[in-house]
């Protein structure tokens, strides 16, 4: 198998597996779920996913843990005051940039 064939077949495998994971549950489950526990469980899923993906990975998202921690503090404060997604993301980046810039002088 050529390198190009290997590369594009691998990409096809990635795409098909990822698509089926998304498509099958959405297409197959046509009925409303009755179980109170399952409904509550599904309600909490996104918050659990995002929290698990963020902590502790966010602290290793840049060149330094201190810079990233500063970005997290900025993000948490802005999110607490219910700023939009974009505002929080941009100011978090700014917090990291500024902290890492200042760290050069210490």
């Amino acid at each position: 198998m050529s390198d190009a064939a290997y590369l594009y077949l691998s990409i096809a495998v990635m795409a098909v597996v990822t698509y089926l994971i998304r498509m099958i549950p959405l297409t197959v489950f046509r009925k409303k779920i009755k179980s109170k526990f399952i409904l509550d469980f599904l309600y909490y899923v996104p918050y659990a996913v995002l929290s698990a993906m963020t902590i502790p990975a966010v602290f290793y998202s840049g060149n330094s843990v201190i810079g990233a921690a500063a970005g997290v503090v900025v993000a948490v404060i802005l999110a607490f005051f219910e700023r939009g997604l974009l505002t929080v993301a941009v100011f978090a980046c700014g917090g990291v940039f500024l902290t890492e810039f200042l760290m050069q002088f210490f």
């Binding site: 990409i11 099958i24 526990f37 469980f41 060149n63 810079g67 999110a79």
Partner: protein, 243 residues
């Protein structure tokens, strides 16, 4: 999130809701483009990956395996484990779709379910229409591909300190999604805290070193969401608003 009964029915409403996600994706996909090319993936192939996969963690694992010459089974298994959370999200979202959501709409729009698109869609009050979903997916999809192309072709010229700062963008978005509902609901707060604590446990305790980040997310999600559902079952009124 606006509490407007009719709003989730419109393409334009979804389109606007997608803008902040799209801008967040720009920096993340940009980083992915740089990383993929750095691993020896041709720039156009990196863009193709983003256009066919639309997932950050899965794509990163994919190019890592490809650059190491891993087999197709390994690639398939890694995608399955890392992206299995989408099955939970699709299942969750299937409970929120309105009567216009035909099988064809489900087959097409399921392609666009990502962490953020799911989070925004499930945060909308009332049911979701196909039009709203297509609107919501439009900009994030375009920006995900465009950001990958920019990173793949231009990444080398960007200063290191800018790249470092951009790395937090996606997490900033996650924080902005979780914190506001956590202020109002003790269940969300406890669920998010439990997931974070479990995630740290798996990450730092040497015994769990063999657990990949994809499996870790699944374990943390299932346990934390079950804890939330057991300890903080929602009242009937809350359900009407959110599911």
């Amino acid at each position: 999130m606006k509490h407007n009964k009719t709003a989730p029915d419109r393409y334009l409403t979804g389109f606007k809701d997608g803008l902040p996600i799209a801008l967040g994706y720009l920096s993340v996909s940009f980083t992915f483009g740089i990383t993929a090319v750095g691993m020896g993936i041709p720039p156009l192939a990196a863009v193709l990956i983003s256009m066919t996969n639309l997932t950050s963690a899965g794509q990163l694992a994919g190019v890592t395996i490809i650059s190491a010459g891993g087999g197709f089974l390994e690639t398939a298994l890694a995608q399955f484990i890392i992206n299995l959370r989408y099955a939970l999200m699709s299942l969750s979202l299937s409970q929120k779709l309105n009567g216009k959501y035909s099988t064809l709409h489900r087959i097409i729009s399921s392609f666009g379910i990502t962490d953020e698109i799911f989070a925004v869609a499930s945060g909308k009050s009332g049911e979701i229409s196909p039009k709203y979903m297509y609107g919501l997916i439009t900009l994030p999809y375009i920006f995900w591909a465009a950001g990958t192309a920019a990173g793949a072709f231009l990444g080398k010229v960007l200063p290191e300190n800018i790249k470092s700062a951009l790395g937090i963008a996606i997490y900033g978005m996650f924080i902005a999604i979780v914190i506001p509902p956590a202020k109002k609901s003790k269940g969300v707060l406890v669920t998010a805290a439990a997931a974070a604590a479990l995630s740290c446990l798996i990450y730092y305790v040497p015994l769990f070193q063999g657990i990949s980040s994809g499996i870790s997310v699944i374990i943390c999600t299932v346990i934390a969401a079950a804890v939330g559902a057991l300890l903080f079952p929602r009242k009937e009124k809350e359900e009407e608003q959110n599911v």
